[in-house]
Amino acid sequence: MEFESLAGRALDTSRSRGASYADVRFESVRTERIEVRNGIVATLADASSTGFGIRALVDGAWGFAASADTSDAGVDATAARAVEIARASAAIGRQRIGAAPAQPYVDTFHTPLQRDPADVPLSERFALLLDAERLLHGAPEIAVGRAWLDLWRADKYFFSTIGSRIAQRICQSGAGLQAMAIGNDDVQVRTYPGDVGLYQSGGWEIVEQARLLEGAPRIASEAAQLLRAPQCPSGTLDVILGGSQMSLQIHESCGHPAELDRVMGWEANFSGTSFLETSQLGKLQYGSDLVTIVVDNGLDRGMATCGYDDEGTKSVRSDIVRNGVLAGYEMSNDTARGIGLESNACVRAQGWEWMPMIRMCNLNLLPGTVPFENLFDDVRDGVYMESNRSWSIDDRRLNFQFGCEMGWEIKNGKRGKLLKNPTYAGMTPVFWNACDAIADERSWFAWGTPNCGKGEPMQTGRTTQAAAPARFRGVSVGVGYSE
């Protein structure tokens, strides 16, 4: 396995310096981003980065050091630094949290690819984006058109002092479009396919699945129409959320509060804590009995799909909410043991430079039984909203306000006129308990989020929330625009 010799050196040095456990993760990452903006290639970048991070455990306290210097001397110095840092942690810690993972694994994992992006000529990648972006300018109100793609590949090699040797190649791809229409004192934006584009694990097939050329004329027209659309009304109304907005709703109001490190106060000063306290496990009626949310890091095309997490734990599927009741958390080894459970492999690092930590992974709301079109049937007065534009939630993940790019009036079961600036707000458990219908699996889709921030130093995580559109009764709508 690549880096095996250097890994042995890192682990030996860590042990000889006093670590009771250590792991080292070598990563070689290649990323490509192309972005076309108003006919110009604004970004054309091909980046590579190689390095390693060592996690050392001394007297129940962790230290982490990372370096791009893969010489023998660089590995030695970095291992010594990780141990020195762990020792400093131990010197001041009033309690001990660190423990070595229980089980070693020797294995490999590769993201399945239908078409390796390396086989797609660069000229073809350009042409797709230039053609799609050009189609965004069909309406004169469109001041800014954007088309982009991201191709990411990470080769990860994990070794630990308990004998784990895990090689993984993780490939993720994404593409999207955005049209910005500017009118008198108004800016309206439409993004496609979801509010960040389409991001999944896989190869060029993900870019093809985004169908940029088909979506461009539609969103350009919608952005222009939004300038002339009436303001979304304010009041208490029924709401139907489209799939990508459901993804955001799950992400912010379930995914983050169910991170066990956050529950334990490990994110308190930055990302905040959580209302999902461990005393509520198995008791809290988080949502209606239609609501079942699971971690599934084996999900086909999930952004977080992998064989093992970044502390060497094998991917599993586990419940977070089962039939509306809080049933579990996203966990690491340390935090899971703190409440007498086992990790469900939710630990990730942004790259070799960062210490692994609990991250939301693939967090899926299981589909319901109602065909999407029937969600509207018994809504007398409501709004259907699609594609997130604004998102904010308090630091215990209770009070939220989200805005979407567009909405449609619903009157007596029928979708009506287009509405601009739709927003809705609520308290998380009240909102999820107001869920009375979830669309069936025909509209269930794995929406990826490529830019989830957490931790200090801040790390960007890549998550998926698979979801179908859903209906919520009696929601506060139009907040922020009630003048």
């Binding site: 972005e35 290639v41 604004a42 054309l44 970048a45 091909d46 980046a47 590579s48 980065s49 190689t50 390095g51 306290a61 230290g63 982490f64 050091a65 990372a66 370096s67 791009a68 630094r81 400093a88 942690s89 010197a91 001041i92 009033r94 309690q95 949290i97 660069l122 350009f126 230039l130 001041a143 800014v144 954007r146 500017i182 004192d185 108004d186 106060g265 490990w266 308190a268 000063n269 930055f270 430079e353 960062w354 930590m357 534009r389 998102w391 904010s392 939630i393 308090d394 630091d395 209770l398 009070n399 306000q401 600036n421 927003t423 200090e456 130093p457 907040v479 922020g480 625009y481 009630s482």
Partner: protein, 446 residues
């Protein structure tokens, strides 16, 4: 240490320029050694250090641009990154507005941008800083969460047109949230010199805020007069900084796209971009090697300037103000050293002159609701207080706001003391501000 790293960067830059046959080549070499000790419940949960180098090559061939990046600087890797940049450029469409890269110029780094003691700081020093905060928490019977951080970073930009600029700086910070049974308090401190940071004092301030906001009750949402501590005002004001980008200005999404030299704010609002401000000394050139201008953005309420890079200077036929981000970027030039001018009253006086209002320590999850009008929503956190008859009376539960920043800055007063504040995505120098008509729309449960 910085001299050695600078020499390595400049040697790499020279070699990369030699290797490139593009019409124009720019190389950007960055070095960083950043360490952060994060803590919670009086133990460290993330104690990290990372040492890295970044190499970026921008090749421009007949108006076509490609960028390639690596973090390896052996000869084959340098040849590879130059070749990749050229290949990308050869396939890119031509951009007729792509002009010549800047030729650079003399720059002078602020004297206090680099601090040797900070560059040498180790895990033990950060641990002692954290430990002093732990002691404050233990004495109060609270628990603490936060971090102590030290870092050193350097940048060298060079291009084949003759620009060559290098900068090395240091930075240090503490951030602490104290949690009591039903309240929290916050404090932060930033400096380029770790010796100027009093971690114990930050711990005490956070304890004081948590204590003073104990047993919070709810007040009614609605329009309030608020006094925002610098950390809160910075979190709000940062959502206006992108409006001063030439890109936003030109595209029509900035509030000042309607025109510069027009009054948009009350006449006590003055904002500059100043890399040499003593509280936040920064890099005196941008990521194209162009000397950065110290630039008024708002003067007495009047929008005066937007910031440019070489591309937008050419496109808009305006001076290049030296505010380029690293290539490639789709965000355009950005102001990165924003300073909001202070007023003539102390923060205490602003409180004392408030019959009824709210004092806000910190904001959270601020997001744009309406871009052009700069309407944002967000939450208060970590110490929100009711002011009655000029006195901080008691803590109140946190609330959600929906406010238009442009409107708020029509009727505001600033304190006479500025503070550096920040987060992972910004660093600003701002005073305390008093604002009337601040709209809260709901209250949360804590």
């Amino acid at each position: 240490m910085s001299d050695a790293r600078r020499a390595v960067r400049e040697e790499i830059a020279t070699r990369l320029l030699e290797l490139s046959a593009a019409d124009q080549t720019e190389v950007l070499i960055s070095t960083s050694d950043a360490a952060l000790t994060r803590f919670t419940h009086e133990m460290s949960n993330q104690n990290v250090a990372t040492d890295d180098i970044g190499i970026s090559v921008r090749a421009i061939i007949a108006g076509r641009t490609g960028v390639a990046q690596t973090n390896r600087f052996d000869e084959p890797s340098m040849r590879d990154v130059v070749a990749r940049a050229a290949r990308m450029a050869s396939l890119a469409p031509e951009d007729p507005l792509q002009g010549d890269l800047p030729t650079g110029g003399a720059t002078q780094a602020p004297a206090n941008a680099f601090d040797a003691a900070t560059a040498k700081a180790g895990a033990d020093l950060r641990a002692r800083m954290c430990d002093s905060i732990f002691r404050s928490a233990e004495e109060a019977g609270y628990w603490s969460a936060g971090f102590a951080a030290t870092s050193t970073g350097g940048v060298t930009v060079a291009n084949a047109s003759g620009a060559l600029a290098s900068f090395d700086g240091t930075d240090a910070a503490v951030n602490v949230k104290m949690t009591a049974s039903d309240s929290t308090g916050f404090a932060e401190a930033y400096s380029t010199a770790v010796g100027a940071i009093d971690a114990a004092a930050a711990g005490s301030v956070a304890v004081g805020k948590a204590r003073a906001s104990a047993a919070p009750d709810a007040v009614e949402p609605g329009e309030w007069t608020v006094i925002l501590d610098p950390a809160a005002f910075g979190e709000l004001f940062v959502y206006l900084t992108d409006h001063f980008s030439a890109q936003s200005f030109e595209e029509g999404s900035s509030f000042c796209s309607d025109g510069l030299d027009r009054s948009y704010f009350s006449d006590n609002v003055t904002v500059v971009d100043d890399f040499a401000h003593p509280l936040a000394p920064g890099m005196p050139f941008d990521y194209e090697g162009q000397p950065t201008l110290r630039l008024p953005l708002i003067e007495n309420g009047v929008a005066r300037n937007v910031v440019t890079d070489s591309y937008y200077a050419n496109k808009l036929q305006r001076p290049n103000t030296g505010h380029a981000l690293p290539a490639p970027n789709a965000y355009g030039p950005q102001p990165s050293n924003v300073v909001v001018a202070g007023g003539d009253k102390s923060a205490q006086q602003l409180v004392a002159e408030t019959p009824r209002g709210l004092l806000v320590s910190r904001l959270w999850y601020v997001r744009t609701v309406d871009r052009k009008r700069a309407i944002v929503t967000g939450m208060t956190r970590d110490g929100t207080f009711l002011i009655e008859d000029g006195v901080v009376a008691r803590g109140v539960r946190n609330m959600r706001f929906n406010v238009g920043i442009l409107d708020l800055l029509q009727h505001c007063e600033f304190s006479d003391t500025q503070v550096r504040t920040g987060s992972y995505h910004y660093s600003l120098v701002v005073p305390t501000v008093k604002i009337s008509g601040f709209a809260f729309t709901s209250v949360t449960e804590f």
